[in-house]
Symmetry: D2
Subunit: 319 residues, 4 copies
């Protein structure tokens, strides 16, 4: 193993930059040449890459986003594009590829690595925390804190104006952000894809609260469980109470990574390079039960289990 390459793909997540920094600098410390590939799979397809040195990653540790750029690349599902990517691999004598991204990125890396016999190791970075078999992805802690700050702000208005709010957070098909934020924000209810919503109960709770004088109410909804606007309308329809919707949206993606997101990214960068050096492939490195471990891509891309009922019950009990 003499030359490795690193790319970021899928949605950006805060902590991708420290992960890149770690792969580059730790790789160099192990006498590897490290290539940075731009724009995810696109850069591999179009041979958009360059060798990175120690200074290429200076000053990025505290920055959100990714200096390698990222994006979706649906064309990479086609053999023609994969062939071009493999040509780049061969032409540049790339012995190992570090793929920083989420679920979709690992699915693509899994297929590409197996089909073309390329050593791929994944670093899970996604705000959605939807990688199976690992505790937390890079970026999810930051996104949760960003969303929580927004919920805290909205609580001020909800309390002062005695209003009902429905706040939509990210997470795709995973309710992790929604549960973490709803619990930490002291929110009155939460809707997630993992649990069937009980509209009647939710609206009944709101009306009962209203009767006993609890006039402010915050419902957090995971994007995979519905639209805040629709849900606000539904609540108004059932309860006749004015309800506001807020869609936090892309605000959750960016920003200075938290200490946790950075430390995790820096540790996983080292672990990914070590795994490649040990001849490992088709795996992601990640935090499993608090320890840095390896998870097969095949496992990682399965539907993630979360203890939805445990979190949900605690949220409802404590409000």
């Amino acid at each position: 193993m003499k030359r490795i390459a690193v790319l970021t793909t899928g949605g950006d997540a805060p902590g991708m930059n420290p992960a890149i920094r770690s792969v580059v600098r730790y790789g160099i410390s192990k006498n590897l040449k490290v290539l940075g590939i731009m724009r995810g799979w696109w850069g591999l397809v179009n041979e958009e890459l360059r060798e990175f040195d120690h200074h290429s990653v200076s000053g990025i540790i505290s920055q959100g986003g990714t200096i390698l750029k990222t994006g979706r690349c649906p064309e990479f599902a086609k053999k023609e594009y994969q062939d071009r990517a493999f040509n780049t691999i061969k032409k540049n004598a790339i012995d190992g590829l570090v793929v920083i991204g989420g679920n979709g990125s690992f699915t693509a890396a899994h297929h590409f690595g197996e089909t073309y016999n390329v050593a791929c190791v994944g670093i899970p970075a996604s705000i959605d925390n939807d990688i199976n078999g690992i505790d937390l992805t890079i970026g999810s802690d930051t996104a949760i804190n960003t969303a929580l700050a927004a919920v805290d702000n909205i609580r001020d208005t909800a309390t002062s104006m005695e209003r009902i709010f429905v706040i939509e957070v990210m997470g795709r098909e995973c309710g992790f952000i929604a549960l973490s934020v709803a619990l930490a924000g002291g929110c009155e209810d939460v809707l997630i894809p993992e649990l069937k919503p009980d509209w009647e109960r939710m609206c009944h709770d709101i009306v009962q609260g209203n009767i006993r004088g609890k006039l402010s109410w915050i419902v957090v909804v995971a994007e995979g469980a519905g639209s805040a606007i629709d849900i606000a309308n539904k609540i108004t329809e059932f309860t006749s109470l004015e309800t506001r919707a807020v869609v936090l949206g892309h605000v959750q993606r960016g920003g200075r990574p938290t200490a946790f997101s950075r430390d995790l990214a820096l540790r996983l960068g080292e672990a990914a390079v070590d795994s490649l050096l040990k001849g490992r492939r088709n795996i992601a490195v990640g935090l499993c039960c608090g320890k840095i471990s390896e998870v097969d891509f095949a496992t990682a891309i399965k539907k993630k289990e979360i203890k939805a009922e445990y979190w949900y019950n605690l949220i409802k009990t404590l409000t």
Copy 2:
């Protein structure tokens, strides 16, 4: 002047709490009784009030929202409700009323004060900074910083994913928040109610930028100038480029007030009580050209002038 009362009305703004603190504690230091009226005009109509002491306002200096609650009260336009409010004033021997709020609040206070001969002094608190004749309302500095943090976050994603974003900020019919945020955020364009939008030029700029390799682009839009979603659609239609909309919404209303919002609120609380003690009425206190001054309600509720073209040109020149 022996007894004064204080209320917050209209949308909540960060800094209302320190303003309340200042009115209460400074009033007490001047040997006044200070009554806190709950829920804005509603509390005056329904006699929902109580005497506040030094401890009633402990620990609120750093909190967003308002412990007095607030809200819109369209019924207060009716004479019947005003009569009830005046009864509360008489019954509680209220000699002066401090109204903390925005444009609509001052309009109501102006009418009520003149009609019933009640000494009303306003403290301008509104994130929209739409009070004429004064530099800055309490809360606008906080809201601008909150919106700016969101824009900084979105910049990470816009740059990493090379996307166009349209970000809608608050401000009602006033473009002040939008201009301040767009300039401070290094945004590529801004749409405000004060300036007629030139769609063709905006889309032409985006396409030209795209051609020369500038793939990320942020347009800030003031809520009074259109909907982010509509504008994003328009841009996509004209340019064929994928464009995302983010509506920051109520996140901008809450949160820890900034130092500026707090210091201003605390200073204006003192000024409002002093004005009442000097027998002044039908005025708002505020920062005018950097100094605490008085502005007639009649002036304050006029359409605020902002140097829209100056700001707009600077924004376009610096991007």
Copy 3:
């Protein structure tokens, strides 16, 4: 088990308030009476307590510090004071005691619980993360992020003015905060109690960096490993380079708890009450390998192991 009590003791940590909220509200949901004891052991000694209801803990979830107050109580080492505390327990028919605090708090609870046969369950809350057998204490994530923000700020000046800084962080005899912050902050060196300092190497590195043009340098020092001021002087003496010291101090203790600190606190509050209900005693609840578990007080109060060399080597490799 019908009546439980909760107290906070030792240094305050962000997240104590959500822990109290959880113990109180979850306890009530289990049909327990929950007493809040003021000022730590002092309140038990002096019978300063009152029954808490659902509203007693409203609005505290996002606040640093502890509404129960806290403090050191060296007198509690004496039998006389313990007897008085036990009288309070009997008089108020307290069946179980939840002790929220750190290492010293658990040592006292361990002794008191065993001596007087009182069911004590601990919730680890301490910014220092010095409880053995558990992953993370409540508050340490918040303190680390606060310290990291300070390091990021100082980095701006260190880079702009090309200076050497020594930054002292908290952590008592534990280097966890220092290591987490130094890694996440991209700091050039770190001194912790767990590793013998190599002054010569540190100063040699600084001088070598200076020669090759790296003029800014940040050393993080854990309070247990020395004083920033002494170390800055030592560096100046050895290298003749101007060096500044910053002692972050109590700033690290307070502030809005992070999502992680809050979620952990809320989950452990539930776990502590559940443990009491199951008849458990002389244990702390905590996150062990990512799962909520129980740890004997006897284990918890031992010297915590951290992987000091692993962290240290990664920090040095990546700068």
Copy 4:
């Protein structure tokens, strides 16, 4: 006027980067060549400079510190160094010089500009807000908010542990930061260079507070008025109450500039270039009574007046 140059000197301040961005981009928009001089006066002395283009200042708008680096340069008081600086001016055909800095920087620019007949225009950037004749320097709003966040954090501990704290903030010989922070933080007392301290009264207040149950107390001290450690010792000596000192130090210098600091910097960058184009020299541009204006260097470098008693009395009245 065809070629201008820009430098930052003195202590760094958050907002210097947006000021540089504005000078460079606005200058270019006016068909000027803009040179960036590194390391303040040193770069002029040693001809360390290069032409900046539009991209040289990309991505810096949200960053603290200064990409031009800065520092003190006592040697610049000597004619020999000034001669070398002037040679750089002539050799590079620099027609105008924008000096971004504080009091000391303007003093040097004043002398240099007059002696060598060089058109110098100043942009006031200093966290201390010690420039006479202008409302606010670039960076002071950011520093005040940073210090206020620290005070808010310490308030949590002060309240929870019922302790007295003395917090030292920056500001050199100017009490502006201290007054702004003490008022906004609801602090119990403040010591500034502009007002003679009344130790007896301060300690009497603390003791009286203690007697009536007010056990937490925060005193803010401006660095120019004494050392937090000395004052804490003095309080302990007089009152026998345990008192902690915190020196905020360089944490206050860095960090993301606030919206106010950025907008001011961007506007003053334009104003400085416009002043040069109009043939103005030996002046600073700044916010005067809320409007962008010019102030002679001779006025700007005089001792700044602040309404110390007004602020002090308000602080004492409201606590």
